[in-house]
Subunit: 615 residues, 2 copies
């Protein structure tokens, strides 16, 4: 397209953005209008993309980090012939694929769900990293960011990661329209404020007028030809550009243009330009192939092994069997044991340093490209990335997360390092799977099994050693449990997992010596829970005592209740959990102080059994 | 102290760090040894601090952002005479004040709990901002950071905030010891890599040899005399400095020095230097005084008001009555309605832009200085700051958080903007209070009431309007509830809050027309819950039906169970919650699709009542 045509295309994208928002009665047309020329030039001249084959390995990848500018994205889809005008006008309506913020669950051309600002760029970095170091394909990743989201720390985690990894296949376009939701941004139209920050993080930068289509065109060309560095194009734009009533004005964020017909006329009326988007280059897949024969590590019953060690060993074995498995860690791989994988498969290991948001974002980006990522850090520090986990679930992303050093049982390091909210946090994520193994063989089996599940899969591991309870050939279906102590005379059921399972077994043995028979269930699958086994235990023993190295809210105890919330009779329930703020102490002292060690469990059980007699 | 004495003091801090970790059998001496000279010079020459009066308003504030270097901090306390040698050697033991990572809950000189990296500096920025804009006192804030934590995005949110606010009362010292937990950092000893990043964010920087005490001394002087900018001192150091077996060596992070006696000898043996720390300047408090007479806004029953509007109006009124109340927002004040406060009290309003971690960190820093912060953003985006909320609870910090736009009922914007995990997330925080009002007068009362509670207080507000249910003089104690429909013939109890309470009332009215009497409880206090009222309802009606605009895990439904988890008989329970991934649709369509509108509630109630008849 020549300059005039590009200008026309930009106007068309504006008109269609105004029309879509007008039809919806809501949406963000002014945020779309500022970036329309940036999008027009990208679509017409630089993007290489086959809309009929979104999974084409040579396709460039476009991420709309400023997800609220969805009218612009959908208008571009229309210009490219991917959707028609009728569908465009279904924007934000019930059942439409064109949501307020784009998601890949509905639209095949969307790489990742956005709308929580500061996430598209980090995930774009993950995709670019996959391109460079895994796919070995020369697709480019284009990310369109807003200026407001530059305030998010995750942007600078991503900038650091991309600069350090020399991701010259990545171009970030910052639409500096000066206005955030509630007024001016910190830096207004000071392009250099953004440019010098990116340069400090070792990026190439280009500053342009984002409404000068020739300048935009040249900037994209410069980005493509830049070697060894990612490029940030800092574009000066006007929010609501092209319509007098909206251009560069405050107070219009997230609102349809008031007089849409007038605005469309001012923009030159409705057009129907069609863009022939460049085809992607032929790319031959160079994916590593595993040996296929999974040989998980095996331990003998009674051996003392930490589940974090089993995680690392199993992950390394899985990486040998499967070429699509990759591992990431937040600079604690010696603790999480992800380093076992790193040693065997360095080419598929990604050190993310202490940047948990970027670690999860990288995993999401790689999963989008078909890889099976396992990202590890302390369970406590996954709280840092909760918004990324939440949005990964909106994307329908399939990622594996491992949180090590769970609970008070880590000992002396104290509460800052203790994952005590992780089960709750991960259970609340839509469609998630939450696993909490208690021994090495179980851990290994679950590590392998989680690879093929849908959605967010979380595995909680422990710091300290514990005896192996199960043989290496035992199976552990997701949604299952194991009944480890059981008799016809059971007077209550103790439900535990991980560290507290070992305490529960010790308590059961102590109680048995007092002729108090109790059932013990290993609830290694915290979500989904094994409803049948729990219901049977409730019916047969009448009372459930749950014990967890976690806060009382949202963890194992609440998970057990999932089995009874359909209106059926509920057993008597007692929950032991961490109710105080721990300090430093040995692991055994911590478990005792929290009231979740064998002694505390046995004491609670005695009380419950006596109460039952009284009643 | 002269140069030789400063060198000696540095060696003493090393020796004591080695001794403390040796006595504990764990800890981070090598991370302490790298920063010992930095700490020695600060303590002896620049810090102005009265250890006998940690609350002295003129005290400088020191934050150990690299919290794992706690042996260094405690060794400095000993050198200042704040603790004795005997206490030093209780490090990391059960009951000791000297935890693995320092917390203000145990030690009065600690400003904030650290140990989750990348948090001390953001909170230090909050304290410095309080000094400049609230306390109007000329105390300085000194933050000692590790180089590894520079990878956290929160560091750059903080850098942005401090640079933009010209916080020349803030000095950040980066201990560039080259080695993270598992090996070299990204930038090793490249001091300029850090310095140019800080400069890009408008900081003054000084690069020094962190073991040259005279250079350190000069750098601190330069920081103090720098006007209009915060200063970052980038100090080249060696991890494990001073002991051949540990100096600049990998693999020794978080481990006591192997041969402690030999190391102490190499460091010149045990010393007992005492430092006379400079006294703080006299400072007269200039705290604003409110008019004391709280006049909350009042609404008539039946008026249609959004709870977010009531939040904003009540907060503005509270700010008029109380001079210690401050408000923060993440660039969505027009949506959360924090802007109502901003208009009336601009001097106590802090725009944090889209940086939720820094927003919560600023609140924590201001709370430490005695202010009562209210920080607002969309409920969904508080997930971004979960680690900061978790650590605030470890600090025992008293902050108010407001999450607006909760649930699917926001409508067209879709799942990225919907807070669906917030109740779960906040309930799991130790010692938290979780409030979820359904009408304007209730919101106003709770906004005022939460100011004086301990710990993390969370208020959930809604986007859409709803009718006022309560008169303006009604009281709403925390831990209470309201029974809105009740009779002797109630066949079940519907428990709801916020948006779903209005749906529950409509359902109850529809059921009443069918001669099915149901009780309705407004559970505005989600944590703590009103156990007595819930237990009475269970006894009298036999069945509880909970309804929430939230995921089914960890929210209102689980909160209700808190009333029954002591082994008492549990009523039949059914939980209605959001079980699908929403798209774009109108608020009413969303509530219906999620099965939490009046129609769905009534249908569930009918089913339960019929079942009860069958039984």
């Amino acid at each position: 397209m020549d300059t005039a045509e590009l200008v026309e295309l930009g106007q068309q994208l504006r008109v269609d953005s105004v029309r879509a928002a007008a039809a919806a009665g809501s949406g963000h047309p002014t945020s779309s209008m500022s970036a329309a020329d940036l999008m027009a030039v990208l679509l017409a001249h630089h993007l290489r993309y086959d809309f009929d084959h979104p999974e084409h390995p040579g396709n460039d990848r476009f991420v709309l980090s400023k997800g609220h500018a969805s009218p612009l994205l959908y208008s571009a889809y229309k210009a490219a012939g991917a959707i028609d005008d009728e569908e465009l006008l279904t924007f934000r309506k019930l059942g439409s694929r064109l949501e307020g913020h784009p998601t890949p669950q509905r639209l095949p051309w969307v790489e990742t769900a956005t709308g929580s600002l500061g996430q598209g760029m980090p995930i774009g970095v993950g995709i670019a990293l996959a391109g460079k170091r895994l796919d070995h394909a020369d697709y480019r990743v284009w990310v369109l960011c807003g200026d407001s989201e530059m305030a998010e720390g995750s942007i600078w985690e991503a900038a650091e990661h991309a600069g350090y990894e020399h991701l010259d296949n990545l171009t970030v376009i910052v639409d500096v329209n000066r206005l955030g939701q509630r007024g001016p941004t910190r830096h207004g139209h000071d392009l250099d404020a953004y440019a010098r920050r990116f340069r400090a993080f070792d990026w190439h930068t280009v500053e342009i007028d984002g409404h000068d289509v020739d300048a935009v065109d040249r900037a994209y060309g410069e980005a493509i030809s830049t070697r060894g560095q990612p490029t940030a194009i800092i574009a000066r734009t006007l929010k609501g550009k092209g319509v007098h009533a909206t251009e560069d004005r405050e107070g219009l964020h997230g609102k349809p243009v008031k007089d849409a017909d007038e605005a469309i006329e001012e923009l030159g009326g409705v057009r129907d330009l069609r863009v022939s988007v460049h085809a992607p280059p032929d790319v031959r897949s160079r994916r590593p192939v595993g040996d296929g024969g999974l040989e998980l590590p095996r331990w003998d019953k009674g051996e003392k092994v930490a589940t974090r060690d089993a995680y690392g060993e199993a992950l390394a074995a899985l990486g040998t069997a499967r070429g699509d498995v990759v591992a990431l860690d937040g600079e604690v791989g010696d603790s999480t044991r992800a380093e076992f994988f790193a040693k065997e498969h360095p080419e598929r290991y990604f050190e993310c340093y202490i940047a948990e948001q970027q670690m999860v974002a990288t995993a999401v980006g790689m999963a989008r490209r078909g890889w099976v990522p396992y990202a590890s850090t302390f369970a406590a520090f996954l709280t840092r990335a909760y918004d990324f986990v939440r949005m990964a679930s909106v994307s329908g992303s399939g990622i594996n997360l491992n949180g090590s050093h769970a609970g008070v049982s880590i000992g002396q390091d104290g509460p800052s390092q203790m994952g005590l909210e992780d089960l709750s946090m991960m259970r609340a994520i839509h469609g998630s799977t939450v696993l909490y193994p208690s021994d090495a063989n179980q851990t290994a089996k679950l590590v392998a099994r989680m690879a093929d599940l849908d959605g967010i899969r979380y595995l909680r591991t422990s710091r300290g050693e514990s005896p192996v309870l199960y043989g290496p050939d035992e199976e552990f279906p997701v949604g299952g449990s194991k009944v480890l102590r059981s008799s016809g005379a059971d007077r209550l059921t103790i439900v535990a997992a991980g560290v507290t399972l070992h305490e529960a077994l010790a308590a059961a043995d102590a109680l048995a010596r007092e002729d108090i028979a109790v059932r013990v269930i290993d609830l290694y699958s915290v979500k989904p829970v094994d409803r049948d086994t729990l219901r049977r235990a409730a019916e047969e023993t009448g009372c459930l005592l749950t014990v967890e190295d976690h806060r009382e809210e949202g963890g194992l105890g609440d998970a057990v209740l999932d089995a009874f919330l359909d209106g059926r009779p509920v057993p008597r329930l007692v929950r032991l959990a961490v109710r105080t703020m721990p300090g430093s102490a040995s692991p055994a002292e911590q478990l005792h102080a929290a009231g979740i060690d064998a002694e505390s469990i046995a004491a609670s059980a005695r009380l419950l059994v006596e109460e039952a007699i009284v009643r």
